[in-house]
Amino acid sequence: MKADRIASIVFIIVALLFWPQTGGLQYNCSIFPRLLIIFLFFLSAALLIQTFLIAPPKTVSFIPKNLRYIITSTVVAFVWIYLLNILGFIVSSVVCLTTLTFFLDLKRPTFMRTISSIAVYTLMVVAFWLIFHNFLLVPLPTGYFI
């Protein structure tokens, strides 16, 4: 219920932040978003009021299990996107896929597991690259490498 209260306040703030940005727009461009902002504001206000009126049901904790792993994986994913134009699609993908796999592994990585993971990921990424690059003609990002 506390989380709902915070969420409703965040949505009210979002609505209040969006509203002034419709100020300089033409009528035809602003009318629809304005109605939506009003809609969001009132719904969020109703949710806020609901959190005070209705007894809180027993819910799962907002903080997930393994938070450290979730945050680190998300950071790795952002780094992966950043590396796409530096290392290229194939190299960055193999590096980040292998990193994530070892990070999520419950056992300590051995030499053989490392080599086999890299080999499997290289094959998979190259196959995708060939399909997209040669067959579907979608130019995938390149950097110093491909």
Partner: protein, 509 residues
């Protein structure tokens, strides 16, 4: 007409054409199963390969790809809770819970038979009822499109039955995100925070991948101590036949959803993304056990999958009769027809009847062939996903989301947006705001805004411009449907309480 149909069989039933259809089906299935590759993209990307073919063969291959792509979206929806195409959003609601409890193969089979059923109904409508149905599409003006979007939004009351308020907040957020970028009428730039990259708006598929895939991958990571993501089911003999009979028993749901899909398909701009949710909502409303929806009931999958494949035939009705594409992939097919010197419109059936009927009949054949191809591919994919440990599956999902969101506009910025929306989606999911209503808002936002503003402009000639929303009879039909859809869950709750009280008093007496 019958002569043209008979002649079309001669064109279709050759080894070359059948092999082309099967190849198209495999290609479409793979594209559909990959989040990010939509039916529109798959059809558009493969158009150059049809240049060397004659018009009939080119259309046959693209038709097979389109049909299979819509169906293929159900694979990822069922196995990893991620709709492969926007047409399979509703399939995640019941398909994924079934897969989680070890019934993934059954869910895929249900999706296969329902998709084939819906596809056939859509083709039958296209074959026999195209001209009268196309005239319905012409009656839809901007006010009707606005009310259709409102009706679509009211579906949230069924989708988010646990907390309707949260569902509508999610819908409002989706609608608001859809307004980012250049306004469709007027052309002002809105809510871009000064970033020129946002001027093109948030791509629907990018948002869809973000809101569905990333939260799922992060949920898997939070459960990393489990070895596998899904429960592996014990292999039961005769599951194909059993599931086929189980699906065919639900004729009411199949027929209703397929007809709804066809009708939504006829309306230009709506497409499978709207049809599957409308059909899901209707199935839930009619059901005697609505509480089972969302927990893994076959009826949910049947509704969404039969309706989205019926859209394929439905969307082609205005295309071949009026020259108006019903759904985005139909616009690509429109271009292909023009490329081959065929002008879509009323005269197409008379001047090039052989090509048109061969194309329609090939869709029918492709739908039938989709069953064995789908069962083979679906089972293979199911076995792979079920046996893949989380330490591999979660990174592969990240990989697919990156490649999928990048390939839409070849833009790294889209990948950043996808991941950011995914993280927001995960936080919202933890707060009980589910991705369904948000994506529904994203889909309906452009349709609603266009209809709303255009209607207001039309209303300038009236004494009160707002009256434009209430003067057409079709608008009233949609208003009444919206009110019914909005109030239905409340009515059902009240009635079910009364029924329970009655049952209790009868038992006591």
């Amino acid at each position: 007409m019958l002569e043209a149909i008979a002649a079309s069989f001669g064109h279709i039933f050759t080894v070359k054409v059948i092999l082309m259809i099967i190849a198209g089906l495999f290609g479409g299935l793979m594209a559909g199963a990959l989040p990010g590759l939509t039916a529109t993209m798959a059809v558009a990307l493969l158009v150059p390969f049809t240049f060397t073919m004659n018009p009939t063969e080119g259309l046959i291959v693209l038709g097979a790809i389109y049909m299979a792509c819509i169906y293929g979206g159900s694979f990822s929806a069922i196995l990893v809770n991620t709709p492969g195409t926007p047409s399979s959003i509703g399939t995640t609601f019941d398909g994924y819970p079934m897969a989680k409890r070890g019934e993934g193969e059954r869910a895929i089979l249900i999706a296969t038979f329902s998709s084939a059923y819906g596809g056939i109904i859509g083709v039958i409508f296209l074959l026999f009822l195209a001209p009268p149905l196309a005239s319905v599409a012409l009656k839809f003006g901007p006010p009707e499109y606005f009310w259709m979007a409102v009706f679509g939004i009211t579906i949230i009351s069924s989708l988010a039955s646990k907390n309707v308020l949260k569902g509508f907040i999610g819908g409002a957020i989706g609608l608001l995100i859809s307004t980012i970028g250049i306004a469709p009428i007027g052309g002002d730039v809105r809510f871009t925070a000064g970033f020129p990259q946002f001027q093109g708006g948030i791509e629907l598929i990018v948002a869809l991948i973000g809101f569905f895939c990333i939260p799922e991958a992060l949920t898997m990571i939070s459960n990393r101590t489990q070895k596998f993501h899904l429960t592996e089911a014990e292999h039961t003999g005769g599951i194909v036949l059993k599931t086929f009979l189980e699906v065919m028993k639900r004729q009411g749901n199949l027929l209703r959803s397929s007809i709804l899909g066809t009708i939504v398909g006829i309306l230009p701009g709506a497409g499978g993304s709207v049809a599957n949710l409308v059909a899901y909502n209707e199935a839930l409303r009619v059901s005697k056990t609505p509480e089972k929806f969302g927990t893994g009931t076959p009826d949910g999958i049947i509704a969404t999958e039969s309706s989205n494949n019926a859209v394929v035939g439905g969307g082609m009705i205005p295309l071949v009769t009026l020259g108006i594409p019903g759904a985005p992939p139909d616009a690509i097919l429109y271009g292909v027809l023009l490329l081959h010197g065929l002008r879509p419109g009323p005269e197409l059936f008379t001047t090039h009847s052989e090509v048109v009927y061969t194309f329609i009949m090939s869709l029918f054949v492709a739908t039938i062939l989709m069953i064995p191809v789908g069962i083979f591919s679906g089972r293979l994919l199911h076995r792979t996903v079920v046996r893949l440990p989380i330490r591999f599956l979660a990174p592969i999902i990240f990989f697919l989301t990156i490649i999928g969101s990048y390939s839409i506009r070849n833009n790294v910025m889209d990948v950043y947006i996808m991941l950011t929306l995914g993280v927001i989606g995960y936080i919202l999911k933890r707060l009980d705001f589910h991705p369904g209503p948000i994506t529904l808002g994203l889909i309906l936002g452009p349709i609603g805004e266009m209809g709303f503003v255009q209607a207001l402009l039309m209303g300038q000639v009236l004494p009160n411009k707002w009256m434009i929303f209430f003067i057409h009879p079709l608008s009233w039909v949609l208003i009444i449907m919206s009110l019914l859809s909005l109030g239905w869950p409340l009515l059902m709750k009240r009635f079910s309480k009364r029924w329970k009280i009655k049952e209790m008093t009868i038992d006591e007496s």
